[in-house]
Symmetry: C2
Subunit: 469 residues, 2 copies
């Protein structure tokens, strides 16, 4: 793997808590105003604490739902404004075909346009699966456990196994010692990892930072698990000192820790090594903790950054999950989760209802997803992904500098392509560029389809929208 | 809707518990021998009880996993024999493209062949989505709640809403009073329905028949719910008398009842009206019970059978789920679930971690699935589905008669297209026709792609394989 240039790895936090400029923008909706409450310690990484950052200011707002996958937002719940496309009824076959064709054609044009001006979500929209069109004729279903023979023949298990083996090698776990499967999305990976943790440590408490993906605490609710929410630093990273305090308070109970390999909003990477160190310090042995790594986005990026902290099964982790439609790029949401075989054996034994092995969350599973992932891994290879990561980090740096130079508060974590900045006031601008917002901040996740030219256009339009206000 | 001919709706159970003929077939694996333990009452429907049918004989076997979506089977756990298709590494771009092209071409040929000789699973493999090839270029993601505006623009919510409204009308619930979403598969629908039940009745006990889909009891395990397994009749239908006994024993606790609209193996329909009657009889009021209807396969078929029992929200049910890749036919697994808005409101309030509405199980959701479903509903219409159902029931009747005439024990429930028969002894035959087997029985689920000609070929080869043994 080629080392990355200095210019893309030395980024630091320039403005830990972005604050919106008051009275600017074509305010279509109220924007919460949050101010930084000061530092705790110093330095660029992991020391600025978002001390209850905005808890008071946004308290009322926290009861609202956000457009960004149910994260709290500062705007009101907006009921879906899209008109339903009704199922149409026809008497005449020709009319039917004509009308349906038109709907699809118009819709494809809309998708093309929206794809062209997308910046907000961590989805790589630059992919090409034309070769695979011919597979759309088949109902490809990898139902059940990938490791158990199924009689349903129209499956893609061979591709699934190829992909799983590739990731097992990436994360350094022997083929005989891992188990995994291709999931429907990042949420399924987290639901699985945490369930495996709970089944192995039934009275374990779940620990995860407040900036974790919402599916982590959803899992706790679904699974009726006790949990503790760990504070985050201003960077978005887990506050390990707070984790230590919580572990000490509950050391009679096993610990299930979710470690974020890239938080959803700020792209911060929790310090896995420090988490492990703390667990040992507090007196936990390996039998009494389980670590799940949520690597939805960065799980697929950091292996290609030389200086980045390394996720590996040589460390005492239990599972890692990653999304397929994020950095890799894929027409349908998908992902994968890998865990140690020994944990799955425990899981299967516990399902007394079945008296059989039923180790996946879903039953029927998308077989096309396995082929998309296999195809991309084969077509790009290590070199391709290394190039893509390099380009994204470079462009993220460029966007960050450009925003900064224009006087817009912005933040970029080290080894991250998630550029955080103050939420634009103009609703129309937010919608056009499909920005994911949380409270008073927005972000752009720089993916391979986001070029320098697109960044220039984006920042240009942002400045225009501010000038208009 | 057109009424179906007498010939397709008057089928009765001809041999309630299929017993394999001993000493026949090219036995590649041991086949469990189960004998019927006699009747309890009489008549064709709902009265023959599979009194612990084979519990002793198959006890050891029940600890094995089956190829049929983790149902217990009579054969050993077979580790996946398929070779992994490794992610390939190339130095030369031309070589890479050539090799990948060959892999995909060979794989497409394999899929074609396997699709042609598929009989066992309830998947309609006769579909045509050629018009939608152009959408494979886009990452279509309906992340989160379909009713909450998302900033991610590359979605298909308008199609999702169209499909949901269609089903709401089918199941007679007012647009303002329902909530639902398009799921990844039947399991997600059941996980959702049962979770909604639990969140509304937190100390409720889950009741479901022993022939329910395995995801129902998986839900109980995941959600840490108390549950009772209700006995089944020989037909596969829930034994309502046993349900009554269990409810009386536990009437201090609310009841969450899963009603099967078509069981997985025998295609039996639980008696929804009788279940409701029993709940009232035992003293339950509507506030103290929740009914989820698992209509994975038949939820999409019985609305088109005039004499069939009717699933409707005019009855006090909580939710219904159905699969999209089963009777409708779809390249990827999918489905949908519909519930009453009032139940979702309760669910959302309960998720205190989020302080926001996060009502779907998955986060990112397959946007293509919504378009496939919309497309099929529009292209076929009521008439098309009525025709399809008619054809399937007719062909199921034909297969059942043919097997019976050849001296093979077989069973076909009323208004079902699932033909159950003794499990063939020849492993090669089972694999070729991709039969789903449980213990000593196999089934063919007659879907629109299974023609009379294919049935003739199938029975012909079955008889040959028996003669060879």
């Amino acid at each position: 793997m080629e080392a990355l240039g200095k210019d893309v790895v030395g980024l630091t936090v320039s403005a830990p808590v972005p604050v919106p400029l008051k009275g600017e923008g074509c305010a279509e909706e109220e924007v919460g105003v949050v101010e930084a409450k000061g530092e705790r310690g110093g330095g660029a990484k992991g020391t600025l604490r978002s001390e209850g950052s905005g808890e008071v200011a946004v308290e009322g707002l926290r009861t609202q739902v956000s457009p960004y996958q149910a994260l709290p937002t500062s705007s009101k719940i907006v009921r879906n404004l899209a008109e339903a496309q009704p199922v149409m009824v026809f008497k005449n076959e020709e009319e039917r075909k004509k009308a349906v064709s038109k709907v699809i054609k118009d819709y494809a044009a809309l998708l093309k346009q929206r794809t062209a001006t997308h910046m907000g979500y961590p989805y790589n929209l630059a992919f090409e699966y034309g070769d695979l069109d011919c597979l759309l004729k088949y109902c490809i279903n990898n139902l059940g456990d990938p490791w158990i023979e199924s009689n349903y023949g129209v499956h893609s298990r061979q591709f699934e196994l190829g992909v799983l083996n590739w990731f097992a090698q990436l994360w350094e776990v022997d083929q005989k010692e891992y188990w995994g499967y291709i999931t429907n999305c990042g949420t399924e990976g987290n639901l699985h990892g945490i369930l495996v943790g709970r089944e192995n440590l039934p009275d374990g408490i779940l620990y995860s930072s407040e900036e974790s993906h919402y599916s982590v605490f959803k899992a706790a609710s679904m699974y009726r698990m006790d949990y503790r929410k760990v504070s985050s630093l201003a960077t978005g990273e887990m506050d390990c000192e707070h984790l230590k305090t919580l572990l000490e308070e509950n050391k009679d109970k096993p610990a299930i820790v979710n470690v974020n390999i890239g938080t959803t909003v700020k792209g911060a990477i929790d310090d896995l090594d420090r988490v492990i160190e703390i667990l040992y310090d507090v007196g936990y042995t390996e039998e009494r903790f389980y670590i799940h790594c949520d690597g939805a986005l960065f799980g697929m990026m950091i292996p290609f950054i030389k200086e980045a902290p390394f996720v590996t099964f040589k460390k005492p982790i239990g599972s890692v999950s990653v999304s397929g439609h994020k950095f890799m790029g894929c027409p349908t949401p998908c992902g994968l989760v890998i865990t140690r075989s020994k944990y799955i054996d425990a899981l299967s034994d516990d399902i007394e209802y079945l008296n059989s092995r039923d180790a996946t969350i879903m039953g029927s599973r998308n077989g096309h997803a396995a082929i998309y992932m296999w195809y991309t891994l084969t077509m790009k290879g290590y070199e391709g992904f290394t190039e893509d990561v390099k380009k994204c980090l470079k462009n993220a740096h460029y966007l960050h500098s450009l925003l900064f130079s224009k006087g817009i508060r912005t933040m970029l974590n080290e080894r991250s392509s998630t550029v955080v900045f103050e939420k634009p006031n103009c609703g129309e601008f937010i919608r056009k560029w499909q920005l994911a917002c949380q409270a008073d901040i927005a972000h752009v996740v720089v993916m391979p389809n986001i070029t320098k030219e697109k960044i220039d256009q984006f920042v240009g339009e942002l400045m225009e929208s501010r000038a208009r206000a």
